[in-house]
Amino acid sequence: MTAERPEAPRASAIRPYVITRGRTESEGEPLSWESLVMTADAAFPAALQPEHLAILKQCEGLISVAEVAAHLGQPPSVVQVLLSDLLRWGLIVTRPPIPPAERADVTMLRKVLHGLESSL
């Protein structure tokens, strides 16, 4: 299942950085609680730790870091670290939170406003 994800090409040592869209400082900058994660279409090592496996099972569909933590009954801080491992190993992909950096993104705010008004 190597060629199915053009946005996450396989078999490269730098691939995790591609997935995180250049966020190379992931050691010190954990995934945020609202970051969305999902398992990659990759076979994973049989020797995976149960903790990692448990997380992968929660990520069969698109889901936030906070939800994974809540479903597992684990503190998000722990799940963030384990997810970082999985991300580095290419076993999950992420969709970065919006907005990535600045909160004062008026386009985003207008989209949220419109969405809320539509959901009334």
Binding site: K57, E60, G61, L62, S64, R103, L113
Partner: protein
């Protein structure tokens, strides 16, 4: 591959309501808003009213230096945890909004810092029966420089005050948005969030 295990133990604990456990695959990103206030002010009620999933709860551990002000946590080897309830709402098809309920006490400020990072803003809930209980939450928001709106959660037994009186009691700035809501009512709660986001747009366009 990870197989879809029908024996998924947690599936029963969190039955998937409308929308289910997983987000629609069209969702491209997430935004978050904090719902802050003292214990019992209605944070979890509001989140549950708005959320498309049953509110989830997770415990954030606080191990950082910021616990200095808390006499209960003195030794450094002890950590304290703070329960955070949250929910989500998929809007516009491709965006999911997370609402994180954040307890207001000053000693939880460290737990706020991570959460506040990247947050659009905060809705500060207040209860007219105990306005002073909201002081810490409002102080924290100012410390973090997170834009916010204040929503008075109207309890049937709570005294009714003029908006001006509430503003004075909470020492709100003239341009701070103040609304009333009923956290048990979906339309009312979403209107409070709309008031917040309108305010955030106002703040963002003022500062740019």
């Amino acid at each position: 591959m990870v197989s879809k295990a029908p024996s998924e133990t947690l599936a029963g604990a969190h039955p998937p309501p409308a929308g289910g456990k997983y987000l629609d695959s069209n969702v491209a990103g997430a935004a978050k808003i904090l719902v802050v206030g003292p214990l019992g002010v209605g944070k979890t009620t509001l989140i549950g009213t708005v959320s498309e999933i049953e509110p989830l709860s997770t415990e954030a551990s606080m191990t950082r230096a910021g616990v200095r002000v808390d006499p209960d946590v003195d030794s450094g080897k002890r950590t304290t945890t703070v329960a955070l309830d949250f929910g989500r709402l998929t809007i516009d098809g491709d965006l999911v909004l997370y609402l994180f309920g954040t307890p207001g006490q000053q000693r939880f400020l460290p737990a706020w810092r991570d959460l506040a990072k990247g947050a659009l803003g905060a809705l500060a809930l207040v209860d007219t029966r105990d306005l002073a209980a909201s002081f810490d939450a409002l102080d924290n928001l100012e410390d973090l420089d997170l834009p916010f709106a204040v929503a008075v959660n109207v309890f049937p037994s709570g005294p009714r005050y003029d908006a001006d009186d509430i503003r004075a009691a909470l020492d709100l700035l003239p341009d701070t948005e103040l609304v009333t809501c009923d956290a048990r009512d979906r339309t009312s709660s979403i209107r409070a969030l709309i008031a917040l986001v309108r305010h955030l747009i106002h703040v963002a366009t003022e500062s740019s």
